[in-house]
C-alpha cells in the first residue's frame, strides 16, 4: 500500500514546487493586496493577480496546450488543453483588447476633445514617452526591436493597447508588460505630480481656462466616423483598436442602439475583462517572469510614464507661446491617458494652487486624446516591426 501513496505524493504539486513558483505566488499576493486593500485598478489587477497565482501552481496545467492528432482531414483532440490556454487564445489572436476598446468607447465622452481639438496635440506629445523608452530599451542591449516596442507602449498608459501590441510583437513578455502597465496606471497620482510641479511655475499652474463650448449631437456622431477613417488610412494597423473604440462610441452617441451600448459597456466588457485579466496574469509563470528583463521592464516602464508626463506639460508650455488664450500646462500631463486618473491628477494639482480652478473638464480632452494617440503609436510600431 506504500507504493501508490508514494506515487500519489509524487503527483502532488508539493513535489514539483520550485522556489520561483513560490516567489511568484508571493508576487500574486502582493498584487492582490494592492488591488483589494490599496484599490489599485482592481478591475484588472484582481484577475491578473489570480492568473499569476494559478499559472504558478505546479502540475495544474491550466495553460497546457492540447495534444492533437491530425489525419485524414480530421483534427482530433487527444488530451484537451487547460482552461486558461483556451481563453488565452483571445489575447494572442488579438481578439480581446479590441473588444475591451468597444466597451471603453461606449463609456467615453469625447465631448471635451471635440470642443477643444487642440487637446489632440497634447495627446500626441504625451506619447513621446513610448518612443524614448523604446530607445532606452534598445540601448540596454537586452531587447530586440519587437520587445523594445512592447516595453515602450507601457508609456501609452493604456492597458488594452499594451496587451494588443505585446501579444503580437513579444508574447513572451506579455505578463510583465501588462502588470507594469496596470500598476503604473494606478500609481499615476504618485508618479505625475512631482514632474508637473518641477516643469511649471506657480503662475502657470494658476492659469484659469474658459468654459468649453457645448458640442452638438451631430458633431458627436460624425466624430467616431472621421477618426476611424483618418486614423485607419494613415496607420492601417491601428484600425482594429481605433475602429472598435469608435464603434462603441458611435453606439453611445447615435442614441438609437441603447441595447448594444449597454451590453458593450457592461456584460461584454466584463466577461472579456475577466478572461483577459486571468490569462494575461497566467503568462507570468516563474520562468518567464523572474528574469533580468522583467526588472528592466519595470524600470523602463516608470521612465516611460515620467517622460510622457513631461512631454505633455512641455508641449502645453510651448503652445502658450503661440496661443492668444493660454492653456494651463497642467492639463498636458493628462495626455498620457490612464483615463480618468490622469485628468483627476491635473485637477488636484491645479486646485492646490487655486482652489477655485476647475481643470478637470479641460484635462479630459488630452486624456481621451491620449487613448487615440497611444493606439496610433501602437499602429506605427506594428507597421514597423510586425510580421
Amino acid at each position: 500500500m506504500l507504493e501508490p501513496i508514494l506515487a500519489f505524493f509524487k503527483s502532488t504539486g508539493f513535489f514539483a514546487l520550485t522556489p520561483g513558483a513560490v516567489v511568484m505566488m508571493g508576487v500574486a499576493c502582493i498584487l492582490l493586496y494592492l488591488a483589494i486593500v490599496k484599490k489599485f485598478e482592481p478591475l484588472l489587477l484582481v484577475p491578473i493577480a489570480f492568473g499569476v497565482l494559478l499559472t504558478n501552481l505546479p502540475l495544474a496545467g491550466m495553460m497546457a496546450p492540447p495534444i492533437l492528432e491530425i489525419k485524414n482531414n480530421m483534427i482530433h483532440t487527444i488530451v484537451p488543453g487547460g482552461l486558461l490556454y483556451y481563453l488565452y487564445q483571445g489575447d494572442c489572436l488579438g481578439i480581446f483588447p479590441p473588444l475591451i476598446f468597444l466597451g471603453v468607447g461606449a463609456m467615453t465622452d469625447f465631448g471635451p476633445l471635440i470642443a477643444n481639438p487642440k487637446s489632440l496635440l497634447l495627446g500626441a506629445a504625451a506619447q513621446v514617452g513610448i518612443f524614448l523608452t523604446f530607445i532606452g530599451a534598445i540601448s540596454s542591449g537586452l531587447f530586440n526591436a519587437q520587445e523594445a516596442a512592447s516595453i515602450g507602449i507601457i508609456g501609452g498608459a493604456d492597458g488594452p493597447t499594451a496587451i494588443f501590441l505585446s501579444a503580437k510583437l513579444a508574447p513572451h513578455l506579455l505578463g510583465p508588460i501588462a502588470i507594469a502597465a496596470y500598476s503604473y496606471m494606478a500609481m499615476v497620482p504618485i508618479i505625475q505630480p512631482p514632474i508637473m510641479r518641477l516643469l511649471t511655475t506657480k503662475k502657470e499652474r494658476m492659469i484659469r481656462m474658459t468654459q468649453l463650448r457645448e458640442v452638438s449631437k451631430k458633431e458627436r456622431i460624425l466624430f467616431p466616423i472621421i477618426v476611424t477613417v483618418v486614423v485607419s488610412l494613415m496607420v492601417p494597423p491601428a484600425g482594429t483598436l481605433i475602429g472598435m473604440l469608435m464603434l462603441g462610441n458611435l453606439f453611445r452617441e447615435s442614441g438609437v442602439v441603447g441595447r448594444l451600448e449597454d451590453t458593450a459597456k457592461n456584460a461584454l466588457i466584463n466577461i472579456i475583462t475577466i478572461f483577459l485579466g486571468v490569462t494575461v496574469g497566467a503568462t507570468a509563470s516563474a520562468e518567464h517572469f523572474l528574469t533580468v528583463q522583467t526588472l528592466a521592464i519595470l524600470g523602463l516602464g516608470v521612465i516611460a510614464f515620467a517622460v510622457g508626463t513631461a512631454g505633455g506639460v512641455l508641449l502645453a508650455k510651448l503652445m502658450n507661446n503661440f496661443l492668444q488664450v493660454p492653456i494651463n500646462p497642467l492639463i498636458g500631463s493628462a495626455g498620457v491617458s490612464a483615463v480618468p486618473m490622469a485628468a483627476r491628477v491635473s485637477q488636484v494639482v491645479g486646485q492646490k494652487e487655486d482652489p477655485g480652478n476647475f481643470l478637470l473638464m479641460h484635462a479630459m480632452g488630452p486624456n481621451v486624446a491620449g487613448v487615440i494617440g497611444s493606439a496610433v503609436a501602437a499602429g506605427v510600431m506594428l507597421s514597423l516591426f510586425g510580421k
Binding site: D109, G111, L113, I114, P117, K118, L120, L121, G123, A124, A125, Q127, V128, I130, F131, L132, F134, I135, I138, S139, G141, N144, A145, Q146, A148, E214, V215, S216, K217, K218, E219, R220, L222, F223, I226, V227, V230, V231, M234, V235, R252, E253, G255, V256, G258, R259, E261, D262, A369, I372, G373, V376, A377, V380, M381, L384, F385
Partner: protein, 143 residues
C-alpha cells in the same frame, strides 16, 4: 548599408543581433523620430478635420436651427439650442428627487444624506422592435 536596409535588419529578430550597437541606436533614433512624427501628423490631421467639421456643422446649425430633442442616453451634452430644454428637465428631476427625499426623511426623522433615490426614471424606450412585439397596447398608442 542604406537606411532602408538598416531598418529592415533592425526589424528582423534574427538579424538585429548582428548589428553593431551604434547601428542599433541609429535605427532606434530613426524609429523614434518617425514614430513621433507620424503620431503627431495623424493627430494634427484629426485636429484640423475636427475643427473643420465643427465649423461646418455649426454654420449649418446657425442657418437652420435644429430642434431635435436629445436622447437620454448621453446625459452631459447639449447643443446650444437644446441647452435650455435639457437644463429644465434636469432641474425637474432634481426637484422630484429632492421632494421625495425630503418626505421620506421627514417621516423617518433621519438626515437626507443617508438617503439616495436612484430609481425615478423617465420612460426611455430601448426595447428592440422584436421586444415590442408582445406589448400590444403600447404599440397601439403609437400608431
Amino acid at each position: 548599408m542604406t537606411i532602408s536596409e538598416l531598418l529592415a535588419q533592425f526589424a528582423n529578430p534574427e538579424t538585429i543581433k548582428s548589428l553593431a550597437f551604434t547601428h542599433k541606436l541609429l535605427a532606434g533614433l530613426i524609429t523614434t523620430v518617425l514614430g513621433i512624427g507620424i503620431t503627431f501628423l495623424a493627430l494634427i490631421t484629426l485636429q484640423f478635420l475636427i475643427s473643420w467639421m465643427a465649423r461646418l456643422v455649426n454654420r449649418t446649425a446657425a442657418a437652420a436651427p435644429i430642434k431635435a430633442s436629445q436622447p437620454a442616453a448621453a446625459p452631459p451634452r447639449s447643443s446650444a439650442t437644446d441647452e435650455q430644454k435639457e437644463h429644465s428637465e434636469q432641474k425637474n428631476d432634481n426637484e422630484l428627487v429632492a421632494v421625495i427625499t425630503a418626505v421620506i426623511a421627514m417621516k423617518m426623522k433621519t438626515t437626507i444624506d443617508n438617503i439616495v433615490i436612484k430609481n425615478i426614471k423617465k420612460i426611455e424606450d430601448r426595447s428592440p422592435l422584436w421586444n415590442r412585439a408582445g406589448i400590444i397596447e403600447q404599440m397601439n398608442t403609437r400608431l
